[in-house]
Symmetry: C2
Subunit: 238 residues, 2 copies
Amino acid sequence: MKEAKLLFVGRLMKEAELEVKLAEEKRPKAGAESRAGGVQVELQGSELWRRFHDIGTEMIITKAGRRMFPSVRVKVKGLEPLQQYYIAIDVVPVDSKRYRYVYHSSQWMVAGNTDHSCITPRLYIHPDSPCSGETWMRQIVSFDRVKLTNNEMDDKGHIQSLPAEGVQTFSFQETEFTTVTAYQNQQITKLKIDRNPFAKGFRDPGRNSSSFHLEDPLESQDFLNPTYVKDPSGNARP
Amino acid sequence: MKEAKLLFVGRLMKEAELEVKLAEEKRPKAGAESRAGGVQVELQGSELWRRFHDIGTEMIITKAGRRMFPSVRVKVKGLEPLQQYYIAIDVVPVDSKRYRYVYHSSQWMVAGNTDHSCITPRLYIHPDSPCSGETWMRQIVSFDRVKLTNNEMDDKGHIQSLPAEGVQTFSFQETEFTTVTAYQNQQITKLKIDRNPFAKGFRDPGRNSSSFHLEDPLESQDFLNPTYVKDPSGNARP
DNA sequence: CTATTGGCACCTAGGTGTTAAATT
DNA sequence: AATTTAACACCTAGGTGCCAATAG
């Protein structure tokens, strides 16, 4: 089975940012003219990403690999329908500092340096790659299977590099995050529990909180929960 | 998410057979010389397939799509490491008859004809395709996500055709099966329940039956069941 | 009558934050 | 003291055959 993992080295490393990369396959001529075609990459669920970002997004990393929440989903426009493309995401360190969370002030403080030079860049290529522009544009491109890990031995689903030419990079401020092995800011924990369906078991049954903030049905899929349409009696037929 | 479904039209249609197809991508010259390279495709779990075949394999088809059990897994040898290949499976009708199961004699009897001419051939391309010979040979190629359906509108994961040249076909007698909407032969039901981990709920708790016949650990993965290692008390921590 | 469908209980498989213990 | 790990209860998601109901 294909499994997607993104290596992420370092401990409390503040400010990693996600980049979506797009590469044309066997590009006939590398030149600026076809790049000027106006490819657009639009982050889906950006409202939720922004809510996390306003608090200070944290992503858990484990040895076995942990998914990101929210996950990266993009809509791509302006591709040439018949051209084949690779799409990938990358995690880029924003600085070389190490950070520590200071609880009483609810802030991240610089706590040293990290040597990023030893980190080999690891791209996660979308498993549908390569694929025609037409197919990529027809659907939302989802990286929800990607996992972050601090296990340096694990390089599943990665490649070393993309072609030097014909690669366009799109980055999104709101996907900036800090990697942690345990959540530091309780507001982050709360928002994750509220929005990630897999954390439903930790939701406060008293408050109906933000369950109705369905800004992005792709991220909050409660409306698909069969509990809401099933016969509440739970009786089997006679 | 990619989902694999194989259309299978007709009702009790006896004797479909699985074929594994292998196609070279952008083959420089179509000729017999490179085909003579001695590619081998070996069916994994053939012992279990044979046990079903001896009884008369039945596969359930549903509108939503049903997986095959056993699933098709092959080991491929003799590919050119750097050449790119597609690998696919196909379901091929063995005859044009329709069959009916006669319970008292435990046999399938001819019960009419089926017009196969209206059935468009539907190949299921392995999702890893295209892939280098080296990569294909390094691991077992598994089609366990393939689903059989009788919904003619559903053609997910299929293509119309492969290139006319440079395609090799490998077929396996023991993968012959009859499609049904409900199992006819109770021996088949029993063997499915015994060997398919997802049917464990129907196993007879009294007999330990064939749970120890682990000829093929890939098909019978009971040894991974956490039930056997978990604390049986089921107590939570204080 | 036979063949098919849909709901179901019971599984596998694996994604959550929590917690206590281990590590540094 | 801060960080990381591992086991866990509780979820989502979906693969089984069974059985009653429906379709043909």
